[in-house]
Symmetry: C2
Amino acid sequence: MPQKTSAKPLLDVLAGQRQAVPPIWMMRQAGRYLPEYLEVRAKAGGFLDLCFTPELAAEVTLQPIRRFGFDAAIIFSDILVIPYALGRSVRFEAGEGPRLDPLDTPEKIGTLAAQADFTKLEPVYEALRRVRNSLAPNLALIGFCGAPWTVATYMVAGQGTPDQAPARIMAYSHPKAFAKIIDALVDNSIEYLLGQLEAGADALQIFDTWAGVLTPREFLRWSVEPTARIVAGVRARAPAAKIIGFPRGAGALLPAYVGGTAVNAVSIDWTAEPQSIRERVQNKVAIQGNLDPLVLIAGGAALDSAIDDVLANYAKGRLIFNLGHGILPETPIAHVEQMIARVRAYKG
Amino acid sequence: MPQKTSAKPLLDVLAGQRQAVPPIWMMRQAGRYLPEYLEVRAKAGGFLDLCFTPELAAEVTLQPIRRFGFDAAIIFSDILVIPYALGRSVRFEAGEGPRLDPLDTPEKIGTLAAQADFTKLEPVYEALRRVRNSLAPNLALIGFCGAPWTVATYMVAGQGTPDQAPARIMAYSHPKAFAKIIDALVDNSIEYLLGQLEAGADALQIFDTWAGVLTPREFLRWSVEPTARIVAGVRARAPAAKIIGFPRGAGALLPAYVGGTAVNAVSIDWTAEPQSIRERVQNKVAIQGNLDPLVLIAGGAALDSAIDDVLANYAKGRLIFNLGHGILPETPIAHVEQMIARVRAYKG
């Protein structure tokens, strides 16, 4: 029987329709492994300048589509644009990652604005409109935000941290103050995601990069529950919105995340245990993932074998092929091409 | 019905006998949060000098027993003593963690010795004998080693790394060379653990701190299989040996670890999902863990609640109460006392 002809294979997977060949894109596909990205990056000034210059953000968003023919573009932006729109100082220093003025006491948290200045995010919407106008109609455009927990880890610590200790201790010691950060992020992320849909996004992803460091109780409170409120808030005004959650490292807590948030898909990292994912997650939602970004650096037979594992584990069900985390700057472009060719040759 | 009177509650748990009040100790309980440790550390010279001076190593091993009355002592040592005995340069630089000469090419790995110089480890055995002679008969003495995978991550990179990328890429790109490191660590860890039993250890723990970064296929190959060989090798000559495995971050792969290694207990971190642990892990072996070390820093009501969660989740079965990872230097001693009192007041 012929497959249904699809306008956008990625959206069809999110809507419940498995594709014979899984659609494919890569987290951080517009990034430093691409020479054409580095060229634009060099003339953009700072990292946030690149995010907030619609012409340049649209250009780097489209670069990997032109080069590789992925099934989806993801708008080039950053999860810290929401703190920025909330009036926090956000700086990206070369080689050091983001720096913010830390909200490291309940008193400082008390000064946090409840309402973002969305005019600051207008350039992201404009970049989305530009990408939408250039993108082939069969390709999906993905908007995104950071999950409140993950964004809060940067806001409390003022920077990335190896173990997210400052936010975790704040959440334990001052849960009411910490909840004020989470609440501000929930409310403004809803608006931001709706704005991205309005500007042309077909689907949305919520990145909870640091979800995996929490106890089950804290995971439900700070990852699942705020994400559920975002999903419900978006769907209250955009009932058909398709949302991918990425609670990285959630492991055996993934079924609780899926049940609790009502996302349409979960992005899983490379450590996921396939049988439990198939039986308790993929039976309910689509799976996105989960190639190890380091095997994409290694290449060769190891890469082929790892791609085959992902396909064998998940492609009998609804799968969007992706990495388990963002592509790394040192990744050879030839390995990306090897990956795409092998996935597209899949006979499912 | 009265509980069986026990010589060593921790060993009874490992042998299959749940205790009404779970025995308790803490990973890294001899450590920098203790002023008496810092005093000894200051006069020891370097960190390895402390490990290899039996009088001082025995003293710091016993300090937390005297202060807190834990149910077990763990010999003060380091997982990198095996690379050291294999002739690798191992240095601990203040505030920077360990530094080794990296085995970052297959050619360098080719030069690795197969056989450790066990005379270098004699001070560890002597420290064990001294602790054994001073330790009350109802307290257990735990010996340990690093799991081959985790030790190899340091040997390949030459230092700790945020994502263990050098070892992971080496394992993908040069699996035969990488296996040579693993094989040397398996063989010599068996000898080392048997030596520790001989010197007075009652039980053994295998620390696989970085087990959680591997794909399922690599986890089986580099964590489970080498650990299984160590367990079998030790039991071939010490059939009653009691062994605790700690594949940190293994998550939904814990049942595969338990089934594959034949350990007597698994130490679990604070992110574990309780229902699957009870149904698929604790039904087969004892559980050790799993309080978040950061909630021990936070203290107060959050600490009480987190202790109660551990007890509610696991104390109906075989449990050794512990942290989910090592205690951190900034932990207040009063919080450790609060934890012990609350665990010992448990009415199971």
